[in-house]
Amino acid sequence: MDRFLNTNLKLPYCKGCGHSLILKALANALEEINVDPLKCVIVTDIGCVGLADRYLKTHTVHTLHGRSTAIAAGIKMAENIEGEDIKVVVLIGDGGATIGLLHLVEAARMNIDINILLHNNFLYGMTGGQHSSFTPVGFKTRTTPLGNPFPSIDIISLLDSVKAPFLARTLAQDKNLKEIIKEAISFKGFSLVEIVEICTGYGARFNKIDKKTVEEILEKEGKKLGIIKKEYMEYIFEKDRKEYKEPEIYFIEEKYETDLKEDFSILIAGSAGEGVQFASEILAKSAISSGIYVTQKNDVPITVSSGFSVSELKFSKKEINYTGIEKPDFVLITSNDGFLRIKEKLKKWNTKVIVDESIKEIDGIKRNFRKFQNIRSGINISAISFFLKINPFIPFEAFFESLKKYGEEIIDVARKSYEDEF
């Protein structure tokens, strides 16, 4: 025990509290499986359970309430980068397990190789004996004076439902406590041991309780004792290091020329999911390949494939700072959603409009862009191709080349629209 626990110090727990038994059993278990204390991190939650750090000789991390499991998971996940395998044990109470329940579910679901010792004494001890979500039905606490009316969380069933590979339940006073902890810690993968105990300070104050009544409570709640599940599962985050590759920036070759004289801007208003942003990006890239600076500012509602989608593009021979457009030089409207979005502003702008012929409310150059709606991004590629015919500030080949890798069908849309074949 001495290798892991500072036995010169008196443990801080109340007389008869299970926490002392668990801490000693843990120290003995670690000693018997013969791990190096410096290859072991014990992560403690808030509550009486979190007083353990100073008595331990391992690395210790005392966390926020409920977050012990998530911090421990992070410590363990780092092994996918760092490589060295260390033991990570979490000491958490039923209060911590209540507030941090999702962290337990996630660690179990992802099969993070950490070991959880859940000290369940049916209540929040440190703060004065309030009930937790693990308080059994009928159990009296300071905050359930008539007896807790709600069913308690069965953590074993809950974690079993997300395929936790190792699950056990025992009593703090059970003789096999150390053996169960040993087996859990030795297990490769996520393991949780729920250790049921009596809070001598508060549990025993409000309830007539001893080892026998605890066993009766568990039986009544259908909670079995012992190692309930032990099925080795492949660790999910096996190191998957393919070729080492630094992140790259994709530069665009400048092989076309432009006769752009003055800065200008266009606004493309259409429907989300119809390729407004994509078509704008293709135009932007083709302008860059012609030596122009471009910015693209996008406006969408929260939804992804419904409602409007607006892209604002600015073109200049010089670097652009402000990316907003106060009054666009050209407006392309490719759907009614887009029209409705900019309708009010359009009245103020008095600008050149290219618009799908389905929109009757406004004047402008009209074409049937929407006839290409069955081809992915067809509508907006069509509108931009047609725009390039009217305003040929870059060679059409530049646009064509940026589009090339997206297939014959879309290139055909671009060619027809550029030739004004609607």
Binding site: G74, L102, A284
Partner: protein, 368 residues
């Protein structure tokens, strides 16, 4: 050659170049682009990126990984940042470096997810219980994000503190053309590790010293805690050393931050524009067209580098602080810190859309 790149990609790219090897995220507009970039690119450099079940898990995973010495980062916007606050305080208290990219969107609560804003200055500065400072940096453009992201990671590592990189939807979700020669990555700085005898988790001689780091699972026994503690990491309350540690947490940041100040300054004559973040771009356009006006673009927002700022502003009559929020939050911070006062400060504010150069020009012409 030039690239067409979003702010999300620029931040993700430079974060990896700056040594980030661990990322945990949760999807939220306008930060999701960074999450996507890290999931795609971190594994290729032997790093690890994971989707968490919520922002509390995301920041907790990052803190755990950083405790093992891995440079860690997450990105979110205000609703997610709200969930992270308790854990960011924990990282501050345990002196655990971590970078939090806070991508601002408009309004309180869920607000307007796809509308830009600079409304989270107060929120990020005053997010810690006890009144402890977090370094707050803000890139002034996509081009600048390459520099400022790495700088923020460096400061986080060198000062052993969580750092916030404050940006906006109009940076992360906008695309710009950037010249290859303008991509300028600063040197990467590393956390200082302890070697020797008598290791203490939070050891320091002078209050402003940064304790030398050792990872959990490493060769020295580490005791990390979010509770009040002494230099060894023992939870204590009525002990002079605990008060010393708490003072150290403040001084470590405020006494050292001025040497990590980053900014762009264009000297003028009569009046000065101070701005930051995406608004810098409009302010720069306005500055070029205005006469007698200087421009100061701040990238270190907090703690305020007071000496530096006071030195600069003393020659100007009026100071126009331009920012995209309702009440001029950064201006208020500068006032609170004694850099500006009622006499010289004029705020230019707007919400709902970027402040345009002509709005700045007109305002200054009328009020200058």
């Amino acid at each position: 050659m030039k690239t067409f790149i979003s702010g999300s990609e620029a931040i993700g790219y430079s974060a990896i170049k700056g040594g980030i090897r661990f990322y945990a995220g949760y999807p939220i507009t306008p930060a999701s682009g960074i999450y996507a970039y890290m999931i795609e690119n971190l594994p290729k450099v032997g790093g690890f990126a994971i989707g968490a079940s919520d922002e509390i898990s995301a920041i907790s995973y990052c803190i755990g990984a950083s405790m093992r010495g891995i440079k860690s980062m997450t990105a979110t916007s205000a609703p997610g940042f709200s969930l992270m606050i308790e854990s960011i305080s924990y990282a501050l208290m345990t002196e655990t470096p971590v970078l939090i990219v806070l991508c601002q969107r408009m309004g309180p609560s869920t607000g307007a997810a796809t509308t830009s804003s600079q409304g989270d200055i107060f929120f990020s500065i005053f997010s810690n219980s006890g009144g402890y400072p977090l370094p707050l940096f803000s890139p002034s453009s996509i081009k600048d994000a390459f520099k400022t992201t790495i700088h923020a990671i460096n400061v986080s590592e060198i000062l052993r503190t969580p750092c916030i990189l404050l940006t906006e939807k109009e940076i992360t979700m906008t695309y710009e053309t950037i010249d290859e020669k303008d991509i300028d990555l600063p040197n990467v700085l590393e956390r200082k590790y302890f070697e020797g005898n008598d290791f203490k988790t939070y050891d320091f001689k002078n209050l402003e010293d940064v304790p030398l780091f050792s990872p959990v699972g490493g060769k020295y026994r580490v005791m990390l805690t979010g509770s009040a503690h002494d230099k060894e990491g023992y939870l204590k309350k009525d002990d002079p050393e605990v008060i010393e540690v708490l003072k150290h947490l403040n001084e470590k940041i405020v006494k050292n931050i001025e040497k990590f100040n980053i900014y762009e300054y264009y000297e003028g004559e009569k009046n000065l524009i101070i701005t930051y973040g995406v608004t810098s771009k409009s302010a720069f356009d306005a500055f070029k067209k205005l006469k007698n006006v200087g421009l100061l673009i701040m990238k270190l927002l907090y703690p305020v580098p007071k000496n530096f700022l006071k030195e600069i502003i003393k020659k100007y009559k009026k100071i126009f602080v331009v920012e995209e929020n309702l009440t001029g939050q950064y201006a208020e911070i500068l006032k609170m810190e004694g850099v500006l006062n009622e006499e010289n400060l004029i705020k230019i504010n707007k919400i709902g859309d970027l402040i345009s150069p002509s709005e700045i020009i007109n305002f200054i012409k009328e009020n200058g």
